[in-house]
Amino acid sequence: MGIHIIKMPDIGEGIAEVELVAWHVKVGDVVAEDQILADVMTDKATVEIPSSVAGKVLALGGTVGQVMAVGSEVIRIEVEGAGNLKENTAPALVDTTQAATKVVANTEDHKTVAATHAAPSAVASGSGVVPTRPASATVAARPGQTNTALVRAPGDKPIASPAVRRQAWDLGVELQFVPGTGTAGRITHEDLQAYVARAAQAQPAGSVDQRYAQRLDEQTVPVIGLRRKIAQKMQEAKRRIPHYTYVEEVDMTELEALRAQLNAQHGKERGRLTVLPFLARAIVLAVRAHPEVNARYDDEAAVETRFGAVHLGIATQTQGGLMVPVIRHAETLDLWACAAEVLRLAEAARSGKATRDELSGSTITITSLGALGGIVTTPVINHPEVAIVGINRLVERPMVRNGVVVVRQMMNLSSSFDHRVVDGMNAAQFVQRIRGYLECPATLFVE
């Protein structure tokens, strides 16, 4: 008679310790090969520990709830023949009687834990724990079943050729979970394929429905060209600039009435006006009182350059991504000239014909998603500028005016400022000034 020690198997993924959640045997029990001895839990899954030998349980290596290190003794079993305990090895780590009494004391916990983990252990198969037996046998015997035993002794690395390792990485499979049928437990290409196929099969019922089919495909999209530029610009802006975002609602009823009037009167010959030219004009007027927002800030040189001219960037969606064509000297344009310029630039940007000049040199930027404008946005400043004004959706909303609920056309403005050079007070005053112009549109023209 010899003593066989079963150690806590390596569950993979760098897990160094597991919690013992249930014992299925007690000291003195006679166990058969493959009989489940205990359940252990990692933060990902519950795993069953089967017996690799037949014999009588001599000692349990821990109590329920105990956190045990991978490689520590789980159980000692008296077996026919030699066993794997060497003569000179230190005696058992846990006093048998003590362990036994503790298990008895914990019986209630044990039951609840066993009951609760039953379901998860079925699901855990996907995360793939592997049988002790060669995979070919296992797969044939219980196809698609959850395999919650382990294949390798603790500390043993999965052995696979470099090509198999590479394929496993490509597939996102941890080789630790793949049973190896090759000589000395080597994992072959076939083992890997069988494992992947089994993982696909072992999905919960209902997954045959294509609408809920699990998808493992992924696409790598190179971030290049304009996309990369946008990424860099955005990163640069967010990394360098402490954004301060201010949102205010604007009553657009008056301005909308004027816009409708102008479009009815002049729409045919001069072109239709959107809100944008009005906002552009409001900004042109507002920056006169707030030159600090119509500026570019060179933080390395610690110099903010304020501009008399208003070169208005208009964030524009194109096929390739976001572009910002620039209305040069917006202060010189009337509503229709501005509208025409916006149209021309947007077209140039979308068709890729915009020149470098038309795409650079802005001093302040407007961003608008039109009908998709939402309630609030947090615009990202077009670095090295210091302010960006965003337009939100224009909607009819009930408002209280002089104690009466009335329907007004309301629109929010969401604006961001570089808080290093624009104080909150200045930013607020600037937006309030724009609001003033928009709510009382006559002031846009009478100075």
Partner: protein
């Protein structure tokens, strides 16, 4: 300041750096490589390659000298001489061909090579001083940065490099062979170069603090090397530490393990006590990266503690081997291109080009025992190998270490003339997870040294044929 942009910025053009750049370029990543000296790094310029060239020259000269006496081969040579200046020119020619080749490869793949010393500005940016006279550096910004700055020679605190105290770099370009050379350090660098100088005619003394040469290898493996040192007349002082030069500067003061001091006369002192990661002098400290001892700490994907900053090669510590750096570099380039990779080799072979050579891959018997593996070990001596005899090189052996339970091979070691080439077979069998039966069942060409590999496996299985 004008900023150049790239996707991948590689700092250092040694084996790790240039392989990273080539692989990245193959994968379509815009890559800039910065190198302050010649491409090829320590390996091509002042390490592996030039030392191997000198080893060949020294051995050939030594052979010729040997043939001036009584030769069992019946060859007689008269008046063998060496023109060391020509030898160094020849070595420099090989180095130039190789470094030029690296430059051509980089160019072919479209890697932008910037010549100059990089200084880190932040985790994505470096300033490159191209010319010490030009104070305005070039600023280059990359989305990814691979740090591959290699290592530097470690000096002795009490005996800095300069004058008669030379480093391995200087030892590889001798103007003349000194009459008396003291080598400090019995590792592979000290031994390789000590043997070169001995064979070129210098009186060589070797001082090693530990109690045996090549302290990283077991004594069985180093015994044939120790025997060869004795035979060649290299005086070996083990368990001894160097105290510094004497007042006249013509001898090294050495203290042995009993505390007794003596002086070893020296025209030159070669300090070869090891190499340390090059972590200073280029602004690395600005990134505040996690360290592991003197090396940069990296995970199994060569990621440092800062996102998109990677480190490979000697900078990441032991083993400081060119082939490790190259494999890491290739992997990092692939990860950056979006592939899933890990640095998980089964083994990294290491070679000492001593006389005789030593090659190891995987676990030694002691390593395996420490890891708790129950292993079989078997040796096959070259004395029983026909090819070794025809090479006049029957010293040494091949040793295999395999698990007793499933016979999977976990390590190989060999010592003998020209055994470095066996490293290929060793690594291959370890990476493939071969068992003793796999190697024993492979026909090895006759007559070659490789037959000893097969025979070692057979012997482990209990049925070697030639012993």
């Amino acid at each position: 300041m004008d900023i150049q942009h790239t996707t991948l910025l590689v700092i250092g053009g040694g084996p790790g750096g240039y392989i990273t750049a080539i692989r990245a370029a193959q994968l379509g990543i815009a890559t800039t490589l910065i190198e302050g000296e010649q491409l090829g790094g320590t390996c091509l310029n002042i390490g592996c390659i030039p030392s191997k060239a000198l080893i060949l020259a020294a051995e050939a000269y030594h052979q010729a000298h040997h043939f001036m006496g009584d030769s069992t081969l019946g060859i007689h040579v008269e008046g063998a001489r060496i023109d060391i200046a020509q030898t160094v020119r020849w070595k420099d020619g090989i180095v130039a061909r190789l470094t030029g080749g690296v430059g051509a490869l980089l160019k072919k793949h479209g890697v932008k090579v910037v010549k100059g010393w990089a200084t880190i500005v932040d985790g994505k940016t470096v300033d490159v001083a191209r010319d010490p006279a030009d104070p305005q550096p070039v600023r280059i910004q990359g989305e990814h940065m691979v740090l591959a700055t290699g290592s530097v020679e470690l000096g002795l605190p009490g005996m800095p490099f300069g004058g008669s105290v030379i480093s391995s770099t200087q030892a590889l370009s001798p103007e003349r062979i000194p009459g008396k050379l003291v080598v400090v350090g019995g590792g592979y660098i000290g031994l390789e170069l000590g043997l070169v100088y001995r064979k070129l005619g210098a009186d060589v003394s070797l001082v090693e603090a530990q109690n045996h040469i090549l302290p990283l290898y077991d004594e069985e493996l180093t015994k044939p090397v120790a025997a060869s040192l004795r035979k060649l007349g290299v005086q070996v002082h083990l368990g001894s530490t160097v105290q510094g030069l004497n007042a006249a500067g013509d001898a090294v003061r050495v203290q042995d393990s009993t505390g007794r001091e003596s002086e070893l006369a020296a025209d030159q002192v070669l300090v070869a006590i090891g190499r340390v990661p090059r972590t200073h002098g280029w602004g690395l400290e600005k990134l505040m990266l996690a360290m592991q001892g003197r090396a940069l700490k990296v995970d199994d994907q060569c990621r440092t503690s800062m996102r998109n900053v990677w480190a490979i090669g000697d900078l990441t510590g032991e083993p400081m081997l060119a082939h490790r750096a190259m494999a890491q570099g290739e992997m990092v380039a692939e990860i950056i291109s979006g592939k899933r990779r890990h640095f998980a080799p089964a083994a990294i072979a290491a070679v000492c080009f001593t006389d005789p050579e030593i090659v190891v891959a995987g676990q030694s018997p002691a390593d395996a025992a420490k890891a708790g593996l129950d292993c079989i070990t078997a040796q096959f001596p070259f004395a029983a190998n026909g090819r070794a005899m025809t090479l006049e090189a029957s010293d040494g052996f091949v040793r295999v270490v395999a698990r007793r339970d499933n016979h999977r091979i976990v390590g190989w070691q060999a010592v003998g003339v020209a055994v470095s080439e066996l490293g290929t077979a060793f690594s291959h069998s370890l990476e493939m997870g071969a068992t003793l039966e796999d190697v024993a069942g492979t026909i090895h060409a006759h007559p070659t040294l490789g037959e000893a590999v097969q025979e070692a496996a057979l012997r482990a299985l209990g049925h070697a044929l030639h012993i």
